[in-house]
């Protein structure tokens, strides 16, 4: 099978989504992953956006979470107050899986989407938290999309925008956060997960064509690779649905 890097990333993320999940997503590849899951294995999942749209029809790919394309054919159109309340609410929030991205991630899955360099004199300013910090605070499961690069997998974040496991076991609880944190990191080379006890990142699956060592070489901190196995590549059926149903005009893939 031939597939691109965004395609395998999308499929790996889509496989994390269970039928019945409420999927919080942004634009681009995270939305494609949500749509792929819905079309492949989780038909009862519900896609929703921080801007307030619940269960959008998504005839076309939106290019922002505020896009008119998320408003068409929804179950209800609210606002940010509604959307975030749904995620902080323990009844509905516990059923949410979020898909996030970041400029930096550390071994506990904490994310930086704010600045590179000093906060007050940044080398690079990014867009900021948006709803990222909110969902990472509220919901039990998050998928993070990352490119596997040393400067992105760092020992210490320049700014901790969105909470993963903070500084390790029990830290979320000590800070006053609900349980949760980051479930997995889906990159262009691998799927990383977090140890149940140490809360540290480990290599779970490497994609066909990569090796654990190549992956380690692209990280700013070492991770356990003892549990690593090769990932099942995207199936023909998965790719067909992704290409034909989710992004026929190839805007993202």
């Amino acid at each position: 099978m031939n597939y691109t890097s965004p395609e395998i990333m999308t499929i790996m993320a889509a496989r994390e989504i269970r039928n019945g999940d409420i999927v919080f997503c942004g634009t681009g590849i995270s939305m494609l992953a949500a749509m792929a899951a819905k079309n492949i294995s989780a038909p009862e999942s519900v896609i929703f956006f921080e801007s307030g749209a619940v269960d959008s029809l998504l005839e076309e790919l939106p290019l922002a979470v505020s896009d008119s394309r998320v408003m068409y054919g929804t179950d209800s159109n609210g606002g940010l107050m509604d959307a975030f309340a749904t995620m902080q609410n323990r009844m509905t929030g516990d059923r949410v899986i979020a898909i996030l991205g970041a400029a930096q991630i550390d071994k506990y899955g904490n994310l930086n989407t704010t600045v590179i360099g000093d906060y007050f004199h940044p080398e690079t300013r990014f867009a900021g938290s948006g709803g990222g910090c909110d969902v990472a605070s509220f919901v039990p499961r998050c998928i993070v999309f990352m490119h596997h690069e040393k400067r992105k997998f760092v020992r210490k974040l320049d700014y901790l925008t969105s909470p993963g496991y903070l500084d390790g076991p029990g830290a979320r609880e000590r800070a006053g956060l609900p349980p949760g944190g980051i479930s997995c990191v889906v990159t262009n080379m691998a799927v990383m997960r977090f140890d149940e006890h140490s809360k540290e990142m480990y290599l779970d699956r490497f994609y066909p064509g990569t090796t654990p060592q190549q992956i380690l070489d692209r990280m700013g901190f070492p991770v356990d690779i003892s549990r690593a196995r090769q990932a099942d590549p995207p199936t023909e059926e998965e790719l067909r649905i992704l290409r034909e149903k989710c992004d026929p005009s190839r805007m993202q893939l």
Binding site: L63, A64, S66, S68, M81, R125, A127, G132, D134, F138
Partner: protein, 331 residues
């Protein structure tokens, strides 16, 4: 204040009446949708400076205002322009160059802060951001906070839950209310008293408007109150909150207005290119902002054809199959 009076004003006059150098203000919309762009361009054209701005996730509007040198302080959760610029370019530049003071919150926190202002309480609680640098790093110095009575003494407060473990929440973050002097929103429909009807997502426009001392509404359609009252369930902002109503068709262009028109990818991409280069950016501003007298002239410069390309399809509410072609500079 007589709420029922006719509040219709020319946009230029409304901005001149309610927005001053140093005003604390906010604009509605979200990234590339329903930004009150006609008002934004008017503010730039009027040369208003030192604005203290509050937004949750904003994009086009805030970036133009920063580019126009209008904003000196910004409380914000997210500055992005969709596909055209993941991080707003003039925003990034201004922060990196140190010409813009920023205080970072999350999207929900900014929304709650507007809601607190609307509800008349000093703060609202959330569990968001516990353990993060949103709590640890404050953007404004103590000096800035003390000097301006319109800024809360504290960015936020972490409080032990006074109800013990009630709701399984041992701690909460309290975020302070925002009370803008002026909020400007763009809506699909308003009547002359100021009652507003927003179609599609409302974002935080309702909370932003109700938190503000003055609200300027720009609208695609200006209708009679009787028409609004046939379906009161669709009206989100009652006239009692509104100071001025300006009838400005395409008033959110180049951002999108659900059921009316889409964003203009061509404009947004050309803007992003210009924003990266000082000379190109001056040229862009001279041509599209300073080189016109009002939004009507601006739209003339864009041309009818471009506006037709982004017309909303009546079934879906957006421009079906809109292309993000990249034609280089705007002409």
């Amino acid at each position: 204040m007589e709420d029922r009076r006719n509040k219709v004003m020319d946009l230029d006059e409304a901005i001149r009446t309610f927005v001053r150098d140093g005003s604390h203000m906010s604009i509605g919309g979200f990234s590339i949708s329903r930004n009150p762009m006609a008002a934004v361009y008017t503010i730039i054209r009027q040369g208003i400076k030192n604005l203290h701005f509050y937004v949750h996730s904003n994009g086009t509007g805030i970036d133009e205002l920063i580019g126009g040198g209008c904003i000196s302080r910004l409380e914000i959760a997210y500055g992005g322009n969709g596909k055209a610029a993941t991080t707003c370019i003039r925003f990034r530049k201004a922060v990196q160059e140190g010409t813009l003071q920023v205080e970072d919150y999350s999207n929900y926190q900014m929304t709650l802060r507007f809601a607190a202002g609307a509800m008349g309480v000093p703060f609202l609680p959330t569990r968001s951001s516990l353990g993060t640098d949103i709590i640890n790093r404050w953007g404004f110095s103590e000096e800035t906070r003390n000097k301006d009575p319109k800024i809360a003494d504290k960015k936020l407060v972490v409080l032990d839950n006074p109800f013990g473990s009630w709701a399984d929440a041992p701690k909460v973050v309290l975020v302070p209310a925002i009370h803008p002097d002026v909020t400007i929103i763009h809506v699909q429909r308003a009547d002359y008293q100021g009652t507003c009807r927003i179609l599609g997502l409302t974002y935080a426009d309702i909370e932003q408007a109700k938190a503000s001392r003055h609200v300027i509404v720009t609208c695609e359609e200006l209708v009679e109150p009787g028409q609004m009252r046939e379906n009161p369930g669709l009206n989100q902002i009652p006239f009692i909150h509104v100071s001025a109503v300006c009838h400005v068709p395409y008033g959110a262009y180049p951002t999108a207005v659900y059921r009316y028109y889409d964003y203009d990818p061509q404009y947004l991409i050309a803007y992003a290119r210009a924003a990266r280069d000082e000379q190109l950016f001056r040229k862009y501003q001279d041509e599209f902002i300073y080189g016109v007298n009002n939004h009507g002239e601006f739209l003339d410069r864009i041309g009818r054809k471009r506006l037709e390309q982004i017309q909303a399809d009546p079934r879906t509410g957006y421009a079906v199959n809109l292309q993000w072609y990249d034609r280089g500079e705007m002409t």
